[in-house]
Point group: D2
Chain length 392, copies 4
């Protein structure tokens, strides 16, 4: 697929979330969530890219999430100083390109929201942060660019404007739900602003489960139609069920980030998601946090009739469970069929736990004192104040 | 740790389950569950070993689960023919040794239950299958041997007898619960028989969650004490909650193997498991299916006070959530403490699903027609009969 | 309380639902839900009235729900023929008055939606049905009138117009949720129309749980304020939790009407409801299906500070569990306090059941063939067609 | 049915629990749970008896639960002083006989465990308490006698010995589960001791749900068979699901007694219970706390084929939901069939609540200081100590 493929409306399968997958594998620290593994443990990043490629991804995103200089230097995380922003971004590009060449995937350079914006730095300063990453992407000649994980459309627009300077195609996704961005801008309006700023693909990523994300993209689609603005649609939701979360998504859930296991979606949930996304007219279909290679494979398997082929990793997977016909136990072989897995309501095995949680709703966003970027680690005193606040 | 370490009663941390982890990564087929990835994709197997090593494993098990000749040649899976049993086992040894040398881990060669036994082949034939694997382990000079995943103590004893011929230390675990083996032999009696056959470490692996597994090891311990037989204890349970399963464990649960996500245990569940296991006197503490590297890290972190050090992967992990003090959002920073995670009751996000399931209970075991090894794929007609049986 | 009390804004406590309570006691048939027990078993109706009075009800509603002539003569229920509409209504008035005199309660004559309306009969015919009941209420000199359980505001307005002919105060409640009536009229607009038709008290009853009902009354309040129309507010919700039901309320839930037990609200849920209702400005606070005498007592206990007294039945009940200080077992005595009960998350004891259900949504309402009133019983053929429809 | 009927092995349907039902109706105080309503509000007691009779009960138990003198005078409850033990018991007999005469039911005088026993009073003193109640039963000429709700078989045996002095048939039930009585005597042994003391019917009542109760009666049956002792079997379980409770039953559950609503069993649960009880050979089948008249009717409907008739209250109830064929809404009419209700997994409507709870397990029983009978109310100081104990 040449970069133009993104425009012609073919199905493009994205990849899954790197920070969550690599956290579980031992290479990313939950909290800062920064991608210095590209320098420290390239073999681990390379292997994950390879697994997504094998699973059917047409796009490998450079592992540059939260790799802006200000985020690499926040609250006691000194990656910028120890390694440097440039090296982290460069290594990410090299690894992605290396693996992409093993198949026929595109490499997309990605930027995401910055502490600078949340700390009320001005437009020029925020843009400078994106430009620093873009310089690397241009030097390494990525195929296209993605601005992703933005809670405020204003910052997302700034990012798109910077990325657009490159002349390369730009995709833009926000981590919002049907209620819109943190300033209350509805999804439809966000989409229109992003396209007007230069994005040719728009949609959502992260923060919400597949169902809620599709609902949001649907609102974007309607907003674009109403404004008579054209763009391709994209969705990269969580692989966690989040029916109970509020405006700010899964980070508000009490289970975030170390107790989300019971919410992990099955491959069958993802096949249903892929079909729904396709039917809604979305053509860039991928995932975010929680998506493992087998979830991406589920997208590729569901859309195999439309794409005309199965991904490489399907050599080790039968459609809708049919490899179970090779199982030793007869009652497991009896599960080798679509009807069985399609209708299963999987139990949590946790009778002492509820099925939904009340999300935190601190109502804190851009400009709030507690959101300010700070170089030094959170102090004991600062933590104590937060613990107090949590309780009452 | 020299192999003798296993005897002196130091804490030995095992690794996690390979077939489930590599199935999700795209390299193992659910159904046959055979380990030909050692030949086909050594980089994937190597990376998983490395992650467990980084997470704190003292032992790397060769990825030779279900690598007996008869299992590699069953129901349409033709690995023995295409690759050969010897090559799969050799590659597994090479990869494990290569990664073990990156740290100071031991390599353990593993054998598991055979279709031959279930098909009522005689003792000599079953033993021959184990011996074929053992020959490779000896040639590759593994540090010690594990007989694991046995449903019948009779077969496990045969395996131990074969492995013992090598003169190397032997550990033996069965995939049983408190009800005992499939022939009704209680756990305590199983343990005694295994030690008498030559095992110096006994315990359980797979099929049940940490709580039930510890209950079973406790029964083994009591059986050994009553018989005045000495051995070290070992537990490698599932990383799935299975309070609802019956005698045959999680393969009976309707969610097996493609809908188990909501049952996945958290790292905090594992810290509690590691502590309980230690307090029970178990010194070889690891995991089986569902265990990812971060679960093994949780064992290593829980037992860091006893062991005196943290694993390498803890560079990217704060104890009991304290790396969250570096999170951008204040309400997530407020979760940076043990009390929070220790008491969390994580929601499933699945309000339309139950918390427990009724397991299948077909009552089929050794000798049943449907369990017989067969070279050719399960036929359509055979499947139809099973679907019928499932319904009524 | 004189009838005027209803206007002055004092707190008026309603009673609970008769059809569900008497169904469980053996005097009402689920399906037709008609009140012929007033004639057949007056002692049972009398006792239930008495229990509500003791629990704190200021109003006893005549048990005339679904006592219009057309409903008493529907689908094989021949009450009109066997007993007569007039006798059922008269007996209901006599019993309510008799018990009301044991305390100082008001008697309210009630009418509810008719099969005639659903069968598209014209305004005159529908009004005639209400007038027939009103004649009895006037003869028996009830204190005021209630039009309740209307799914269509058009019919509710007709009912209010008829009742208003009496010169007595009229309250009107609809069984709708935030989405409005079955024709899509929003709650605020329904409220305005009802007041303009002559109701001095408006609100909702039945079909939804306390939370959703209060949300609906809030919308009514806002509609009235926006239209600068004055009225008192009233709520008589279900005593079942129904977070999962759609526009048509609990009758769509698969558990209706014989599997609702796990949804029954506790007395503590009701105390929270009463407080929230009061804070919202609602002054006529009662209940509908599922409300048992102890639920009404919970309203009276919660509002005792405002009302200045406790109901008679509180002789046998301590506030927020304090009578447990008299329990034999010490751990139960330890539960004798508000903090305990206020925060309890009661378990269902049903690990194989989900927490929410998907409601039926047949989209059938006024005018649909299957809703037509018919004198004769539903035929086998008609039932078969419905069973078919349910499955697919 | 003459009293001898109890011996001949016909089906005898018991009644339901009075204290829970009348607590909800406003006549019994949770905590002391004493039956002074027989004097204070005979009409309420009479009506409940009548409803059970209508529902199919063959036996009306006098409402004399906890009506021993020492229990009527405990922890600030001064019924003995204000009314007198004798009057409460006499009124109970009169009411039961009056209602029994409306049908053909038997009247059974009942005694239950005493504070005196828990306070370690001697055999003579405890027996004196039972004899005081028995004197009334003899004077009022009840048809037979029941010793029920005993946690210690020793006390139950004493009760049976006293009741047997009357020459009337004696039934004896304990509120125990499969683990046996509070002193660890297993169910089978309890049953044998009770029969040897003179009981001709033995079984369990209260404390556990139908499933667990039947499991316990099964153990009793096996104990009797092993000891070659003959007796009829009886079960009167809770109408609450309690899969999660320990040895002491539902009083240990955190929901006891004011948050048990989500555990209430449906009529269909009871039909399954009645069938299972019958198949197990139990012939005296009734209920205890939580059983409302419609639950008893469900027993009578399930066993109608064996008994040859339906209870009176079935005039207002169709078998397995068939009265729903008269419902206005077509999708509810579609539920008019056994298959629908038999398979329904009813949702709790409580997504924030778990499905099981951890019971309190204070391990306090006979002889413990906190269980001592005391005339005066529990003091503030005593309560504070308990609250402390609950927390830690």
């Amino acid at each position: 697929i040449p970069p133009e493929g993104l425009y012609a409306g073919e199905i493009v399968i994205g990849d899954g979330g790197f920070v969550f997958a690599l956290e579980k594998r031992g290479y990313v620290k939950a909290g800062p969530w920064t991608p210095e593994a590209t320098v420290e443990h390239p073999e681990a990043v390379r292997q994950l890219h390879r697994e997504f490629l094998r699973a059917g991804s047409n796009v490998l995103q450079t592992f540059t999430f939260y790799a802006s200089e200000d985020k690499l230097e926040n609250r006691g995380n000194y990656v910028a100083e120890k390694i440097s922003c440039q090296k982290v971004n460069e290594a990410a590009c090299d690894i992605a390109r290396e693996v992409a060449s093993e198949g026929d995937a595109l490499v997309a350079g990605g930027v995401s929201q910055t502490p600078s914006y949340l700390s009320c730095k001005d437009k020029a300063e925020v843009k400078a942060a994106f430009r620093k990453q873009l310089d690397v992407f241009m030097k390494k000649n990525v195929d296209f660019l993605i601005a992703e994980y933005f809670e405020h459309v204003e910052e997302a627009v700034w990012a798109v404007e910077v990325l657009k300077e490159s002349g390369k195609p730009v995709a833009a996704t926000m981590c919002i739900g049907p209620e819109g961005d943190m300033h209350g801008v509805p999804p439809g309006q966000c989409a229109v602003q992003l396209v007007k700023a230069g994005a040719s693909i728009v949609g959502v990523n992260c923060h919400f489960d597949p169902d809620i994300s599709l609902e949001t993209v649907k609102l974007m689609k309607e907003g674009l139609q109403a404004a008579k603005v054209k763009a391709h649609l994209m969705s990269q939701p969580l692989a966690f069920h989040t029916p109970d979360c509020g405006k700010q998504g899964f980070i508000d859930l009490p289970e975030f980030p170390f107790g989300l296991e019971p919410r992990i979606v099955t491959r069958w949930d993802i096949q249903k998601y892929a079909r729904k996304a396709y039917d809604l007219g979305i053509r860039y279909i991928g995932g975010c946090c929680g998506f493992e290679p087998y979830h991406i494979r589920a997208i590729a398997e569901e859309l195999a009739p439309e794409r005309g082929f199965l991904p490489e990793a399907s050599e080790k997977h039968g459609s809708w469970g049919d490899s179970l016909s090779m199982h030793t136990k007869p009652w497991v072989r009896a599960r080798a069929r679509k009807e069985y897995w399609e209708n299963l309501k999987p139990a949590s095995g946790r009778p002492y736990c509820p099925s939904m949680s009340k999300p935190d709703g601190w109502g804190v966003t851009k400009g709030a004192r507690e959101l300010m970027q700070q170089r030094e680690a959170t102090s004991e005193q600062q933590l104590k104040e937060l613990f107090q606040k949590q309780k009452f």
